[in-house]
Symmetry: C2
Subunit: 312 residues, 2 copies
């Protein structure tokens, strides 16, 4: 199928076409820029929520509850579950996704996991691209779920309007989140499995940690939930709504979206230049040898490469 | 202190100077390129081991055992503990480092944690730079310890000659490692806390997973250890030694080091170009507005930026 035909079907909300378009993103298909350009005018309408946290905290159960709540309000939903790729697993660690299958027959819910195989910029560039496809397909709400708390998750979280960071009762999780630098990206904290011992302490600890951080216009609320039992879900929804209203009222929503787009474009340009750098490095035959023999140091070599690339 | 004076002290093995030089790396100091160039001829002698795995698997205890084993063989050691930076914690989550303090008074052991505050290229570029400083200071063995199993850890692992991936008995850890794509970077697997139930199963599971992966010249051995009790440490050392011998004999050591240097130089050039891209994007005043108004799509914008940067 060509880009224009696919774009037309995506715009019409055809689920198969959307799935196919996301495969194009995963593979870094040659026709992706054309597809992307064709869909771009239809984007910027959906609201995006990121959901991140360590494996096992209950992200998939929470996502299922968020879907439920949205559908109860007649809001259409797309879920993008980000899987880091591994040749050992083929990105097929989708056991937890099965929990969301209660929504599998509802046409108002689209669920898709995404790995990156061929996309040049990795997940950091593939994620906003996939979000735009879902956005152009007419979904009201896009939930992006990531599997870990590493730097990639921080990158992915930056691609959404409201980021929910999920931890469990017990100090370990919060410390791990802090180590991964994920506290800074949270707009709302979720202490899931709050029926367990230590939930109150976890909420308090997070509030103390937040008090220590830099003052911002929005202070992330800490919401205890029990996704399995359905407790705290309305409060979580309300907290996410409040954040959305704050962003809109303050003008931050447009500013942040615009800054994100610009950062993405810079990253795209950089990735293209990086590929060129690799080509140029190969052309400079003696460079690897000169480096290995300590005749040229890395900074000199980088400057040489840069000069070649920019013609300066 | 100027770069040449500092380089001289680093070359003489002065621990304070080494610590200061690594701070330069962390901060991305202006004189860093000069320091780096001055030290570069003295590098390429140390052997580097990476140690990675999820928080709590016992990396610091293992590192302490590796230090012990090396010192018993009269090998000098430097440990570089990589901490992701977080304004909430100031990279100060160093509790586990204390376990290594038994070596604090041995001049043959240098221990330092590193975060990145100002370094342009993040940990991926700061780590090899810090390794070269330790190398130039005359250490025989450099152990790089990371705190998590995210993409950053994979990047860091790529900066060392031999990578040890640590898991604990129990399926969860291995799955998490698989998700993070860390299985591919392992040269040796360590099942630590092997006195616990399930250790044999964990070893077997890993061996099965390895059997499913692509065939390579080196098959990573799986070594059960108990760092706290000191069991399996000689076997671990022997496994790391075997890998080193394999690398040397096959010529992979030189090839991989050379490829790493070249990749680093390409990344440095890319980072510089990225900074230029951000400058150029700011100069193109209407770009953000055009993107937001959907007059220009991200691919067009990136192409525009690239053309401006390269003058083509």
């Amino acid at each position: 199928m060509d880009a224009e035909a696919l774009a037309q079907k995506v715009r019409a909300g055809d689920a198969r076409a959307v799935a196919c378009a996301i495969s194009w993103v995963e593979d870094g298909a040659g026709a992706l820029p054309a597809l992307s350009a064709a869909l771009y005018p239809e984007t910027g309408r959906a609201y995006t929520i990121g959901l991140t946290g360590a494996p096992g905290v209950g992200k998939s159960s929470l996502t299922a509850r968020v879907i439920e709540t949205a559908r109860g309000r007649d809001i259409t939903v797309a879920v993008l579950a980000i899987d880091p790729t591994s040749p050992f697993t083929g990105g097929a660690l989708l056991g937890d996704r099965l929990r969301m299958q209660t929504h599998a027959t509802d046409p108002g819910v689209f669920i898709r996991s995404m790995a990156t195989r061929g996309h040049l910029g990795g997940l950091a560039l593939a994620t906003p691209e996939a979000i735009r496809i879902l956005d152009a397909s007419g979904r009201d709400l896009i939930v992006v779920e990531t599997v870990g708390v590493g730097q990639v998750e921080v990158e992915v979280a930056k691609a959404t309007d409201t980021t929910l960071v999920v931890v469990n009762p017990g100090w370990g999780d919060s410390v791990q989140a802090a180590k991964a630098g994920i506290l800074e990206v949270a707009d709302v904290f979720v202490v899931n499995k709050a029926d367990r011992e230590g939930a109150d302490a976890a909420v308090r600890d997070l509030e103390v940690m937040l008090g220590m951080g830099p003052k911002r216009g929005w202070t992330p609320p800490v919401v205890p939930t029990s996704a399995l039992e359905g407790n705290g879900i309305e409060e979580l929804w309300a907290a996410a709504e409040s954040h959305r209203e704050y962003l809109s009222a303050s003008g931050d929503l447009e500013r942040r979206r615009s800054a994100r787009l610009l950062a993405e474009v810079e990253e795209m340009a950089s990735q293209r230049l990086k590929r060129s750098a690799a080509d140029v490095a190969r052309e400079l035959h003696g460079l690897a040898e000169d480096l290995a023999a300590r005749r040229v140091d890395p900074y000199e070599a980088a400057a040489l490469l840069e000069a070649r690339l920019t013609g300066r």
